[in-house]
């Protein structure tokens, strides 16, 4: 597994900072946001690798960097960590052909498209880089990872806005179940913290603007003072493997994907339906495919974006758990890293697996005054040590798309 996020570089570095209640949110540093309504975001910290920061040239050769948008850079960083961590380096042609890649993104190369548009607008179309298109295309993270490692199996991608990361991992696990591959590198990558991205989500009234002076307080899922999400950037990548295949080679196994459910709202382009019934059906489908009782689930990593929709998700989770609601912990790790859009579901699925590994529920930062009371413990402020055998992670996207994934320790 591999993560690069506003909390930094690397799986364990991210996890330990998350558990310690640290925040990766700050004032936007990569450009001057003064003219925009929202001034805060979660950006991957630049700096030395050994300090848990990103030095891109350590991961992507300088001459190749300009051929890819930043979301591909970040995807490659996390994929490299994940593949190295998995120890899977197929040497035979057959093994390479049985190894695929499915990495999604919600937005893709937005800054690249912006820059190219200006070039064309200025009448310099003939000066447009030949790398413009492959730099912006969403499936090119999968393409670059396959080229780097020689993975010749299914090469696929997912674009379902903020559900992309969970859909990629869930669909990739299905490809393994269907026999299309033995190993799939899967996850999501996003880098839309740029003027066009911030302006666009601001126009949709989706971003927090009330905490520009106190960035770390801006992402506050379920809190009564929340006023929109905080955009984050990064990538989360896992290496999925057919169980017997992994066991036979003595692989390090973090956990098992046991359930996956999907649904559509058929309601509105950006707002969830009443009671988040689409989310309820996605969770229900995931529980059914896992063949477990909901009471077996010890931790829920919520979509929880710090918007009005938080309470609707809460209603759906309460409905799902019924009498078992008081037994489960649910938190939103977006409170610490912001909303990584198409990478969110992948990073959060990884956090869910680590929650099982360490029997720790990561905290929901800034949950000072819940807008709605609930029997569900939302792990305010501090991580909680508790027994977690099975975890569920939710992701919902614009267009009314919902995905839930259930993981278990091995």
């Amino acid at each position: 597994m591999g993560i690069v996020s506003p909390l930094g570089l690397g799986l364990e570095h991210n996890w330990s900072r998350l558990i310690a209640g640290e925040s990766g949110i700050g004032r936007i540093a990569s450009f001057d946001p003064s003219d925009l309504p929202a001034h805060v975001a979660g950006e991957v910290p630049a700096g030395p690798t050994e300090a848990g920061c990103l030095t891109l040239s350590d991961w992507v050769p300088v001459k190749d960097q300009k051929k890819m948008d930043r979301f591909i850079h970040l995807g490659l960083v996390a994929a490299t960590e994940a593949v190295e961590d998995s120890g899977w380096k197929p040497e035979s042609e057959e093994d390479r052909c049985r190894t695929g890649v499915m990495i999604g993104s919600g937005i893709g190369g937005l800054q690249t498209i912006y820059d190219a548009s200006i070039t064309v607008h200025e009448g310099r179309a003939r000066r447009l880089s030949p790398f413009f298109i492959p730099s912006a295309l969403i499936n090119l993270v999968s393409g670059h990872v396959s080229i780097k490692y020689g993975f010749k199996g299914p090469n696929h991608s997912v674009v379902t806005a903020c559900a992309s990361g969970v859909h990629a991992i869930g669909d990739a696990s299905r490809l393994i179940m269907l026999g299309d591959a033995d190993v799939m590198v899967a996850g999501g990558a996003e880098a839309a913290v740029c003027p066009l991205g911030i302006a666009g989500f601001s126009s949709a009234r989706a971003l927090s603007t009330a905490f520009n002076a106190e960035p770390e307080k801006a992402s506050r899922p379920w809190d009564r003072d929340r006023d929109g999400f905080v955009m984050g950037e990064g990538a989360g990548i896992v290496v999925l493997e057919e169980y017997e295949h992994a066991k036979a080679r003595g692989a390090k196994i973090y956990g098992e994907i046991i359930g996956y459910g999907m649904s559509g709202d058929a309601y509105h382009i950006t707002a969830p339906a009443e009671g988040h019934e689409g989310a309820y059906r996605a969770m229900q489908a995931a529980v059914r495919s896992a063949g477990i009782a909901v009471s077996d689930i010890g931790y829920v990593n919520a979509h929880g974006t710090s918007t009005m929709a938080d309470d609707l998700e809460l209603q759906a989770v309460e409905r799902l758990f019924g009498d078992a609601a008081s037994q489960v912990a649910m938190s939103s790790t977006k409170s610490a890293i912001g909303h990584l859009l198409g990478a969110a579901g992948a990073v959060e699925a990884i956090f869910s697996i680590l929650a099982i590994r360490d029997n720790v529920a990561p905290p929901t930062l800034n949950l000072d005054n819940p807008s709605t009371e609930s029997a569900i413990d939302r792990v305010a402020h501090e991580a909680q040590r508790r027994k977690i055998d099975i975890a569920l992670s939710n992701s919902f996207g614009f267009g009314g798309t919902n995905a839930s994934i259930i993981v278990r320790g091995v």
Partner: protein, 79 residues
């Protein structure tokens, strides 16, 4: 070495991320300097930009080595 040759060499080093010593007049962009077809398109664009010349596609296709590029640009500049 001419000013043009110097500048061409610098552009090649920068765009292909190769060591300066490898950028000899005879070096082929694709065979010796690790460029692919898209890299060469970008290189030609960089030459056009840096020297304010137009390099039509049929001429660009014939520029395979560092010397080809220098010769073409020198000819254009002399004309």
């Amino acid at each position: 070495m001419s000013e043009i040759a110097d500048k061409v060499k610098k552009i090649v080093v920068e765009h292909l991320g190769v060591e300066e010593s490898k950028v000899t007049p005879e070096a082929s962009f694709i065979d010796d300097l690790g460029a692919d077809s898209l890299d060469t398109v970008e290189l030609v664009m960089a030459f056009e930009e840096a020297f304010s010349v137009e390099i039509p596609e049929d001429a660009a296709e014939k520029i395979a080595t560092v010397k080809d590029a220098i010769d073409y640009i020198e000819k254009q500049k002399a004309a």
